[in-house]
């Protein structure tokens, strides 16, 4: 089996959740027929290579009281995208910040995802972004209904 295939096998085995035991890596290794050290080394390499962003908890944010979220899209002049993107990303409540393409009926090129405990907290972040960047053309998209939300699997 190729190295990549073993990595995929390892990720597939743990993507629904690591065993919550005293020795999770040893337990994973036992299930897959590899040593504890091999599991640790492979995960280290996957993290270093950026193939795994984090080995961490995904939190049900609504359940712990982080009930408000706003996808705020901004119309940013092309030459200001880099400067503005860094400012927006600097806010703790901004969890995602991306540049995306525009279309004839869609001119908002920078997307921010804002999470907060209340709508007012999200609004305050949007106001602060407006003040810090001088941008005024934006739309707040709130979610009316969630049809699907799952973590990315391979």
């Amino acid at each position: 089996m190729k190295k990549e295939d073993i990595d995929v096998k390892l990720i597939k085995h743990i993507q629904e959740g690591l065993p919550v035991t005293k020795t999770p890596y040893k337990d994973i290794g036992q299930a897959l027929g590899m040593s504890e050290d091999e599991v640790i080394q492979r995960l280290k390499k996957l993290l270093e290579a950026g193939k795994i962003r984090r080995l961490a908890a995904s939190i049900a944010h609504r359940k712990i009281g982080i009930n408000a979220n706003a996808m705020c899209v901004w119309k940013v002049p092309k030459e200001r995208v880099d400067e503005v993107g860094v400012i927006m990303a600097g806010f703790e409540e901004v969890t995602h910040c991306y540049e995306r393409p525009v279309y004839s009926d869609w001119e908002y090129n920078v997307f921010t995802m804002i999470h907060g405990y209340t709508d007012a907290e999200c609004e305050a972040v949007i106001q602060a972004i407006k003040e810090k960047t001088g941008l005024n053309d934006y739309v707040v998209l709130y979610s009316e209904k969630e049809f699907k939300k799952v973590g990315v699997r391979i």
């Binding site: 020795t23 049900a60 990315v152």
Partner: protein, 155 residues
């Protein structure tokens, strides 16, 4: 909300990497000054009660060689259930929301993220959704990333 201060401390720490050592929860117990058995027991509790969706690798789809996009569609009100069901059939769809503009009207109402093993597969799936629904799908793949990292402030 039934989480204790201890739970919140654990939850906050768990959003960052689990140590890659033989006894990761023992390592956390030293950092947080909470004993290992308690940490394990509280994590299990928080998973069981649904506060933690999972303790697992967060996969970088693109680095794994996959392609991903955010797509938007304008779906007529009376076809929302039908179209969302079609979109949700695809395993590469990880999020699908009905969204509305708060301060301005926007031309699309259904927004979903889709990943596929490569560009070709991604485009053929989006095309398939267009064919099956008769609606135009606007694909908005990321052209630049400034931040990705859903870590929440835990009070």
């Amino acid at each position: 909300m039934i989480l204790s201060d201890t739970d919140r401390k654990i939850l906050h720490r768990l959003q960052s990497n689990l140590p890659l050592v033989s006894r990761p929860f023992l390592e956390l117990s030293k950092e947080l000054d909470i004993d290992e058995d308690t940490i394990i027991e509280r994590i299990k509790f928080m998973i069981e009660k649904g506060y933690v969706r999972r303790l697992a690798p967060i996969i970088n789809t693109q680095a794994m060689g996959r392609e991903a996009t955010l797509a938007a569609i304008k779906v007529p009100e009376d076809r929302i259930d039908e179209v969302s069901a079609i979109i949700n059939e695809y395993s590469g769809v990880s999020h699908n929301y009905l969204r509305k503009g708060k301060n301005k009207h926007i031309p699309y109402n259904m927004w979903f993220t889709m990943s596929a093993k490569d560009d070709e597969e991604l485009h053929s799936r989006l095309k398939e959704i267009e064919n099956r629904t008769g609606l135009t799908v606007r694909s908005m793949p990321t052209t630049k990333k400034f931040k990705i990292g859903v870590r929440f402030k835990i009070y």
